[in-house]
């Protein structure tokens, strides 16, 4: 029994470790081929990554990635391939920025109103895809891709010019949100444990929101009836249906739930960073979130590690660029290899585990018979 437990823990840890090792190996080969010094590059990445300021940067980057991953994972848990987080968060951030600039409220209320607006917009946009699937049978992959285009290329691009604050600015954006609508940074909390944070780095307050969302996600998925229904639908929709789980309602709930979380993805930018939606607004987080969800196996803790890893790599990219050691694209190659290898490793480990379980059950039954 004890060796069995050891074996299971070993298997669980082996998959990510092996993936990381293979990804590092492949990246090293690419680095050497492109004429860079692989050892020096990795040394610089680690050296930089262990600095307090870099870690703050990593957390800031990991925060929206984590939220985006959860938004996608809610759908994935029931085999609903919601790839519309991209459009949902961008549209949500834009509307929230516009609404937030109009409001003048007591600070906590102002921030809450902005977040709520973003969540509702995200939910409405993803709900549209859910509605299309439930009423007309439109595949959610198709509809969410289309809705991404409509949101980003159509609505936001079309409406932004109407809300430009300063037409002469090089980076045109919406009117900045008043002080009351900004989320305070968490530097003072971090500084309790460490030294003073320099270089103007600020840990976004949305970091706390991400942790709360992660906890809620974990508890609801694993402990609630709703989560049970979601997981059952994902594992075997026919059996779930025969077990009384209403398929259409579950699709709507999963889409809307994903949209609510997706609305928060753009909040670090709106509440902490630029406090407005401008032309430099960060895009691509929705797709990166899908990668993080895949790597983290749709579990709250797994996605947290995956988001931190991707955050670390993203933050390294900037350093590599500046230090002229290697092209920053090496980071993208690493992310992609990790993901690819991890998906394969998980599958292998899964099969070994299943075989083990069947064997163990058969042995015990034999012993008892």
């Amino acid at each position: 029994m004890n060796t069995g437990l050891l074996r299971r823990v070993g298997l669980a840890v082996a998959a990510p470790l092996v993936s990381a090792a293979i990804a590092i190996l492949i990246s090293a080969i690419v680095l050497e081929l492109s004429g860079s010094d692989a050892v020096e590059t990795f040394r610089t990445m680690i050296e930089n990554g262990t600095k307090l300021e870099s870690m703050i940067d990593m957390l800031n980057r990991a925060t929206p990635l984590y939220l985006s991953a959860i938004a996608a994972a809610i759908g994935f848990r029931m085999n609903l391939f919601n790839i519309g987080v991209e459009g949902q968060y961008i549209l949500a951030a834009f509307v929230a920025a516009v609404v937030g600039a109009e409001l003048d409220l007591w600070a906590p209320l102002h921030v809450a109103a902005i977040m709520l607006t973003a969540m509702l917009v995200g939910a409405a946009w993803s709900g549209l895809a859910g509605l299309l699937k439930v009423t007309r049978g439109v595949n959610e992959v198709i509809s969410t891709i289309m809705l991404n285009f409509i949101a980003v290329g159509g609505l936001v691009a079309g409406l932004l010019p109407k809300f430009i604050d300063d037409p002469t600015a090089t980076n045109q954006g919406t009117t900045p949100i008043a002080e009351s609508g900004r989320l305070p940074d968490l530097n003072s909390w971090v500084e309790v444990f460490t030294r003073e944070i320099t270089k103007g780095r600020q840990l976004t307050g949305v970091f706390v929101v991400a942790i709360i969302v992660g906890i809620i996600y974990h508890v609801v998925i694993n402990r609630s009836r709703l989560g049970f229904d979601i997981r059952a639908s994902g594992m075997n929709p026919t059996a779930a249906r025969a077990g009384g789980v209403p398929p259409k309602r579950m699709i709507m709930l999963a889409m809307v739930g994903g949209g609510l979380v997706a609305g928060l993805v753009g909040m670090p930018e709106i509440l902490s960073d630029t406090n407005a939606y401008d032309q430099g607004f960060v895009q691509g987080l929705g797709f990166a979130g899908i990668a993080v969800a895949l790597l983290g196996r749709n579990t709250a803790l797994g996605m947290a590690f995956a988001a931190l890893l991707f955050g670390f790599l993203d933050s390294s990219a900037a350093v590599l660029q500046v230090s002229n050691l290697a092209s920053s694209e090496i980071v993208v190659i690493m992310q992609a290899t990790i993901l690819l290898v991890a998906v394969i490793a998980y599958e292998v480990v899964n099969r070994i585990r299943q075989r083990d379980e069947v064997k163990r059950a058969a042995q015990l039954v034999e012993a008892s018979a």
Binding site: R225, A242, R360
Partner: protein
Amino acid sequence: MTAAIELIGITKRFPGVIANDDVNLRVEPGEIHAICGENGAGKSTLMKILYGMQPADEGVMKIHGEEVHFSSPTDAIAQGIGMVHQHFMLADQMTVLENVILGSEPSKYGLIDQAEAERHLRAVGEAYGLTVDPNDLVETLEVGEKQRVEIIKVLFRGAKILILDEPTAVLVPQEVEELFRNLRELQADGATIIFIDHKLQEVLEISDRITVIRRGKTVTTVDADAVTAADLAELMVGSELPSPETTDSTVTDEVALEVTGVTVLDEDGRAAVEDVSMKVRRGEVLGVAGIEGNGQAELIEALIGTRDPVRGRVRLMGQDITKSSVRHRREAGIGFVPQDRHAEGLLLDATLWENAALGHQTKPPFSKGFWIDRAGSRERTEEIRREFDVRSPGVDVSARALSGGNQQKLIIGREMTADPIVLIAAHPTRGIDVGAQAEVWNDIREARANGMATLLVSADLDELIGLSDTIVVMFHGKLVATLDPNEVTPRTLGSYMTGAALETSAASEGDVVHGGDA
């Protein structure tokens, strides 16, 4: 004369089941040979062996006198055997020609030789009198035409021996006539045809000889001219029926489930269940006999709420639940044992306790309000494990780790411990070993004694006759007879199940009520 196909002592075992047990078959060249038997009798396994899709465990197979060993359908095709599957394997978006040549495209300079393909296709069509336009899109064809394309596909590859797996199942009567005309022309041109079916009238009409299979064994081979439908029906069902267990009747007057005039459509909009009425009382087991595909599955779906009937009412203890959701019906006291436990009954990758909660997750001990009660669920699952003898290392292993019999006992246990008013059980002992089967039967008897009403759909006559208080027979979506298991004879049961009773009045013996309330 050497036989076109000769099978000697073919045996095929699956874990816990013998699908084919010493099957012997001799098909003469140029004949139409039907293979008849109930679903689950082992017809399709036999055909899969013949077509190289599965190897036989024992036995010899000879084609034109030569012993052969197939490891894949390619080997069978090379020997001139072709199979027309019951479910068409055609690409709708491609033309007839493209579908026919798919996989064996004639080529010239590395490109598909369209002209040659079309010439060959027309030659095949003319030789066998099968007409289709090679350039029609498959999606625009009628069902009968699609089937013709499937046949041409097989002939195009040079098949001289054709296996047709329940070819008439999807056809309307006129199309069946057309198919039979085609088959006779094929026969005239020297083809040998193996025709799998359980519709006796059709079998008698088209075939020269008929081999009957029952429970994996060949019963006999007869000349089609020498038998009647009733004879065949009796051969299929068996000459000896099990006698019911002499248990005291526990049937009460209280009607638990009442179905009135229910009509259910299938995916194609045809009536799979037509105007069915029945009553199941507390303490009663109502057995539904019938060959599979006669509407039993759709009837069950209408009862558990996964398919809406277009007409009729379903009442549970007097309450109309026709429009209720599956969840509401579950909560109101309908238990369900599905016919395919992997597809409809279990979450294979989830733990046993999660599987025990499935279908009952809205009620204690599995949940408290919004939250799943893990401790309560585990405890209840332990209880199910003990009482229903589910052999497993614990309640935290995945359902996948269990053997089929133990999975089924888990399902039976979770439904029974919820104390249902009505249990809808579809083939509750299919594919499990004899020991587990006996336990499942005992569980149902016990619950029946405690007042549970059971609707039992089964293809296993031992089970139906052994458990049921009343048996109704379903044929073509209708209830065609109500029988007493104590007095039923193989001839009456067989002739109702196969539809022979509708054609011949010879089978009017026995106490038979047409389409009445059960």
